[in-house]
């Protein structure tokens, strides 16, 4: 099944009189269970495309369908609901809530989804074990290393059992060892749970984990390993 279907989308940023065409007609279909890398030079539109897929922003033209639902023209609340239920995010900066513990950060999406305390406890502990942080449950983010924080973010992204996880340069702020560990965990979770991953990167070592590589340049898809197009 198609988790993501993007049809000919454009995104034009307007700042004052300057127009930036960040995406200029991108079409892309991502199937359930893929582990796809979005690559391309800085400014090529990777982040913008992830934001469109992730319902954080809306395209200027074109259509976005997530898990069969057209999300192109949803309002703010509907987009928030969509993100909460179906999409997990991992950012380049380790996007945790500083006032919450590891446990509470992972629990947050479950709380928002109205799970019972028992469900939450089981799910959080299960995920913390999966990212090897069970012993850090009560630490605040500032007591964790960058790699640990990013693993918490992965656990949080997975918590509501989303169909899709979007990661924007998840290893860019990590050293090689930690970057590798994060990629290994993402790969493992992809294989074990079948959750679809789409991640933007320009790190060749990270690209090597991908089962499919989509290359962006100047807001268009230049190359897609799945279609074999050159």
């Amino acid at each position: 099944m198609e988790v993501v279907k993007v049809e000919n989308i454009t995104r034009v940023y307007q700042i004052g009189k300057v127009e930036t065409r960040a995406l200029q007609g991108v079409s892309l279909t991502i199937e359930d269970g893929e582990f796809t890398a979005l690559v391309g030079p800085s400014g090529s539109g990777k982040t913008t495309l992830l934001q469109m897929i992730g319902c954080l922003d809306q395209p200027s033209t074109g259509r976005v369908v997530i898990s069969g639902q057209d999300v192109t023209r949803l309002n703010r609340n509907q987009r928030a609901d969509m993100r909460r239920g179906h999409i997990g995010f991992i950012f380049q900066f380790f996007a945790l809530i500083p006032t919450l513990t590891t446990y509470e950060n992972v629990e947050m999406p479950l709380l928002l989804n109205g799970h019972t305390p028992k469900e939450r406890r089981e799910r959080v502990m299960e995920l913390l074990k999966a990212v090897d942080l069970a012993d850090r449950a009560n630490n605040r983010p500032d007591q964790l290393s960058g790699g640990q924080q990013q693993r918490v973010a992965i656990a949080r992204a997975l918590a509501p059992k989303p169909a899709l996880i979007l990661a924007d340069e998840p290893t860019a702020n990590l050293d090689t060892a930690n970057g590798r560990q994060v990629m290994e965990i993402m790969k493992k979770l992809n294989q074990e749970t079948g959750v679809t991953f789409v991640f933007a990167t320009h790190d060749p070592r990270v690209i090597s984990y991908a089962t499919r590589v989509v290359t962006l340049k100047d807001g268009v898809i230049e190359k897609d390993s799945a279609s074999g197009a050159k």
């Binding site: 609340n77 909460r84 809530i97 999406p109």
Partner: protein, 405 residues
Amino acid sequence: MLQIFKMAFRDLGRNRRRTFFSALAVAIGLALLMLMASVINGEMGNAIQSSILLQSGHIQVRSVSFDENKSSLKWEDLVASPDEIAAKVAAFPQVKAATPRLFASGFLSTGDESTGVKIYGIDPNSVANDPYRMGLLSGNFLTADDREGLLIGKPAADKLHLQVGDTVGLSVNTSNGDVQEQVFTVRGIYSTNTYAFDVSTILMPLAKAQAITQTENHASTIFILLKNETDTDSVAAALQGLNLDVLTWRDMNQLIVEFETMANSYIGFFYLIILAITASVIVNTLIMSVYERTREIGILSAVGMRGSRILGLFLAESAFLAVGGVILGVILGWGAVQLFNINGFYIGNMGLSGFLVGNTIRAQLMLDDIVNLSVLTFIVTLLAGLYPAVTASRLEPVAALRAEK
């Protein structure tokens, strides 16, 4: 929901200094409101109580045609056989004292100075006249059969350079319109700590006042003090059958009551200013905290938190600030009132002219005011938090996530 409160609480803990100072701003605002309200209460309560004790009593019984402003001494304007009526009234169990008084006007003169005065003819033995007896600074109090003595207030004595034992000329308007003159001896100098009264009132025994004004067995009024102010209306109703005018302290102190209303609308204006300052401190603090946490708001939004919850989070923060500020404010306000009352506020003879205001104002904190002002401060703080909270809830997640840390 619980999570929101937990987060809000911890967010406040992140910048304790700032949290403390914004709660302090709320607290100081509330403390000022409380102090102002209690000073006004104190002053108004004081004005009414002074007036009741010295001038109006709780109830007075007068001739229907008596006109206070003219202090007429015509017999038909006066109460006949006042002692009998006073005795009847005094028999009521709620009544503490009932005593006849005669009011006249005249001129007091020494060799080179003179001043207009109100003459109170009083029964020296009645407990209703204790405020004068207790206010005696020097000399002796009046005796009922004294025919040449009077008491004079301290400011008037100073003005005329009179001492106990000095003689002074008094000319008095009489019942039939002419003027009687006699030389009196100053028996004592009194002070009620109420300048407006003391400067213009001299006291003499009722019998002498009746004699000099030729009003024979008549009085201007029966002055009645009750054991309990709340019995005013029932006693007044019981006195209706006398065929005389029955006035309560409320009727007689209308000016003060009106003034109190006016003072309250002025004070409302000051309240507004204080609350506006408090609110602007809160708005600034919270706006700053929204901008500092822009990226975090983006994360919450990315995780799927709706705008309404983000709004709730920031409102919860201002609610915590408001609760903390109000609690601290009640303590500060109470303390401020205690401090104020160590010395009171000495206004001396600046008392509002025409009003009997004691020379020292003491603040009086009322439970009503504490509750109302606390609720008001709480609401204003919450309202002040609304704007920053709305700003936070409207942030676009994309913009928030891109924000510099």
